[in-house]
Symmetry: C2
DNA sequence: ACCTGAACACCGTTCAAGT
DNA sequence: ACCTGAACACCGTTCAAGT
């Protein structure tokens, strides 16, 4: 009679591969080392197998990243009830953006690979509910949700270039140094263009979007 | 006396490396094969040299992509004068978006690596001018330009996942199949959520943004 | 200063072969 | 059906050495 596997090794037995387990391991790597390390090869290594084995459960790297986002979406707390619908709307959107800002590279990939899991649907439902409670017509609310979520995702995705101080500084300099004869508006607005904390700008953007959504009719 | 280089080879003499030449070659590869092929190695091969040689002129791959975008920005035609400022604004933004839609993966990279070249400044100046001519206060116009350009860029970037039929279909299905007891708003709005041509939605989005920008004050 | 070959440390994905 | 080793076809970036 052979010894049980448990008595043979000190290490925990290698767990069977499942899609769930793969996604969980991917989330762990994301939190510890960032999305750039969430590769098929690194993941396989973590799961003590070869990269080819993962293709039984995940079609490709993009699908893997989408599954990871779906997972994280579950951690966005629901809005507490009560209060002004505009404020509540801004609060959900800010919470969603904050989650994405913890993983900007994931936001970047979410821009192309939209999630469609249960947590994403719950978020869409909440946004529709709030817009409708503010009296926004159904068609406008529907297109508005897309606009609001796109803004949140894109804003987080902008922070994906880990460093970016180079690019940002180059732009700030270019704006400040724009000659006022050829670029009078930029010269007059350089400070305004660069003003505001990220939080203030995000809040303004959401309020701007909501104001626009409220009063812009969808064609026909 | 040695023969002149010209008489020695049939091929045109290898041109000296310059940043300009490198960027031009990168644009050529982009047009012919897409951004995914605009790699240091592929570019070096095209220029008949080794990848290491490029690092004299370009800091890294991101900077290369930013330079390429800067180049393409020059191809966006200026707005013809005259007409309603809103319509003109929508027209410039649509032209900018159309250019980015020809290279969605470049739009994706533009979301993180903002250009700051002369063509980009010209675009910002035009947008500020149009918003000001519509009576939008300077501070709102400044933040508004950012919002408008971000929307254009993000919209183009969304199309970067070359195929994406999988993800899109999955989302459409999830929306249509959402049970009406737990997701009443989605159930009632499924058609509205999925309605509209990309052009109609882009136009609505720009008008929505402009309406919002017009009437949302910047803090303090 | 500019250019290069070669190396280091990685990738995604496929496929034939095994269990 | 699931899993694997090995291979194919690539990456970005650095560095010592040459001109």
């Amino acid at each position: 009679m052979a010894a049980s596997p448990r008595s043979r090794r000190e290490r925990p037995a290698k767990p069977a591969l499942t899609r769930e387990g793969i996604v969980a391991a991917a989330v762990a790597i994301l939190r510890a080392e960032g999305l750039r390390k969430v590769t098929m090869r690194r993941l396989a290594q973590e799961l003590d197998t070869g990269p080819a084995s993962l293709y039984v459960y995940v079609r490709n790297t993009d699908e893997l990243h989408a599954a990871v986002l779906d997972e994280l979406l579950g951690s966005v707390a629901p809005v507490p009830a009560g209060g002004d619908w505009r404020q509540r709307l801004e609060k959900v959107l800010t919470a969603y953006t904050a989650m994405l800002l913890e993983h900007p590279s994931l936001a970047r990939s979410a821009l192309t690979a939209w999630p469609s899991g249960p947590n994403y649907l719950r978020l869409v439902e909440t946004l529709l509910d709030l817009l409708r409670s503010g009296g926004v017509p159904r068609a406008q609310a529907a297109w508005g949700v897309d606009l609001l979520l796109q803004h949140a995702t894109a804003t987080a995705a902008e922070h994906a270039g880990e460093d970016t101080p180079g690019e940002w500084r180059a732009l700030a300099r270019a704006l400040r140094e724009a000659p006022s004869d050829t670029h009078p508006h930029i010269a007059a607005s350089a400070d305004a263009l660069l003003a505001g904390t990220p939080e203030a700008r995000l809040s303004w953007a959401f309020r701007t979007l909501i104001n626009g959504i409220e009063r812009t009719a969808v064609p026909d």
